[in-house]
């Protein structure tokens, strides 16, 4: 078996043009929707369809490079939607003067598991995430933190906690950057660089998910 061929396989080359056409059609549907829609929130959702079209066309190239380009594309879309949603909410609140809930539907977390065993489940998730490490591990450990924060019964966490967690996330980002630089400045220590990067991303993703938990937490107790 040839592990890595010299040229792209004919199967991928054959479906490239159809894939690009599908992508263009998806983009056109999304763009058509944007140009006729009046509601701002709907437009924001429709831009996501255009983003999907981008992922289709990038993925159509079908090499490892294309796969690594899909991920930043996805992240850019997610990041922008996150920031713009906040701006939209901030604007609407100033415009109407009404206080709008961060989560529109009233969430009533009256589950027994939140009262009986939050610490146990959170610790299990964090340990399992640390065991996996990397991006997926970070997501799972972050889920654990999120769960723990959600289950706290005391009203409101101080925003100092938030800033503390955000600061740790920034330090993890520096860890990642250091790991990356080690790879090029001292190529012989590539394993060290890889580990720095892996645990940097682990801490970062975990705390990001945790932050969402803190953010939601502020709202849950308001009812």
């Amino acid at each position: 078996m040839i592990l890595v061929p010299d040229v792209v396989s004919p199967v991928v080359v054959a479906i490239y043009a159809p894939a690009v056409f599908v992508g263009i059609i998806v983009a056109l549907i999304g763009l058509f929707g944007i140009s006729i829609e009046k509601n701002d929130l709907q437009v924001l959702i429709l831009t996501d369809i255009v983003g999907v079209a981008m992922l289709i066309i990038v993925a159509a190239v079908g090499t490892d490079l294309a796969e690594s380009l899909v991920l930043p594309g996805l992240v850019v879309e997610l990041a922008e939607i996150l920031a713009i949603c906040e701006i939209l909410m901030s604007r609407e609140m100033r415009k109407t003067g009404k206080s709008v809930s961060l989560i529109p539907t009233p969430l009533n977390f009256d589950m027994e598991v939140l009262q009986t065993s939050p610490v146990f489940i959170a610790v299990i998730l964090v340990i399992y995430g640390a065991f996996l490490s990397g991006f997926t591990g970070g997501a799972i450990a972050g889920g654990g933190i999120l769960f723990y924060v959600m289950s706290l019964t005391v009203r409101g966490l101080p925003s100092d906690l938030w800033e503390g967690i955000a600061g740790a996330s920034g330090i993890a980002w520096c860890l990642w950057l250091t790991g990356f630089l080690v790879l090029f400045v001292f190529p012989n220590y590539w394993l060290l660089g890889l580990m720095l990067a892996a645990f940097g991303v682990f801490i970062k993703v975990a705390f990001k998910a945790g932050l969402i938990g803190v953010m939601n937490r502020e709202e849950f107790r308001k009812e």
């Binding site: 490239y16 690009v20 992508g23 983009a27 763009l31 944007i34 701002d40 437009v43 924001l44 831009t47 255009v50 983003g51 079209a53 981008m54 066309i57 990038v58 159509a60 190239v61 490079l65 294309a66 380009l69 930043p72 594309g73 850019v76 879309e77 990041a79 922008e80 939607i81 920031a83 713009i84 906040e86 701006i87 939209l88 901030s90 604007r91 100033r94 415009k95 790879l183 090029f184």
Partner: protein, 226 residues
């Protein structure tokens, strides 16, 4: 190895794996300009706007709170650094990511204001930035599909140009135009400048100017019209 690009000598390269930063005298000048402006902005203080009050003789000062000031300064510095990076990067995809970073930071600089009108234009600008990331990445991926590489130095040494590369370039340009908000999509940005906090807003202008110059250079390298 290529030694000249668009007729100017390559002074040096910084290889970070496959992503190679290259410097010609042209790029280096823009890189230095972006860094100098970022430094000036980093050490400066914000303006204070004075608004005349309607129906009385009093004036009203609009000041930027300390926390907001710090936040904006941080984003402005990131924006300047991203602009400087986009000036010297030798990788098409890397360039698109730098442009996306500039786009999102621009939204952030004006996002934390209290005026509803400004927030509205920031939102509309954000929508364009989101839509624009599609032509940006699609353009880069079409050029990748047509040439098999996204290194600008490698594309420079190719001898052919295909219609697909031209199509990709047009999309790339459209993406940059949307992300930086140049004419005829500038209305959202013009509105954004009504917010107080002047020196940090200037970096938005500067970055879009430098990025447009740079993207034209890249498109000339890809399509070789001369």
């Amino acid at each position: 190895m290529v030694v000249s690009i668009l007729g100017s000598q390559i002074i040096g390269i910084i290889p970070l794996g496959d992503i190679v930063f290259y410097m010609t005298s042209f790029n280096l000048f823009m890189f230095a300009a972006a860094l100098v402006f970022t430094f000036i902005i980093a050490i400066s203080k914000t303006e204070t706007q004075i608004e005349a009050e309607f129906g009385s003789l009093g004036d009203r000062e609009i000041k930027v709170a300390k926390k907001e000031f710090k936040f904006r300064r941080f984003l402005a510095i990131i924006c300047g650094l991203a602009t400087a990076g986009a000036m010297v990067t030798g990788d098409l995809f890397d360039f698109t990511l730098f442009v996306c970073l500039i786009g999102i930071v621009n939204i952030g600089i004006v996002g934390a204001v209290k005026q509803v009108d400004v927030l509205d234009s920031a939102f509309q600008y954000g929508l364009i930035a989101m839509i624009a990331s599609t032509p940006l990445f699609v353009g880069a991926s079409l050029i990748l599909a047509a040439t098999g590489t996204i290194s600008i130095l490698a594309i420079n040494s190719l001898t052919y140009t295909t219609p697909m590369m031209l199509f990709g370039s047009i999309l790339l340009f459209l993406g940059v135009a949307g992300e930086t908000g140049v004419a005829p999509f500038f209305a959202t940005k013009a509105e954004m400048f009504r917010t107080p906090g002047s020196p940090f807003l200037l970096i938005i202008h500067l970055s879009s100017l430098l990025i447009i110059v740079r993207v034209i250079e890249i498109l000339l390298i890809i399509n070789k019209p001369f």
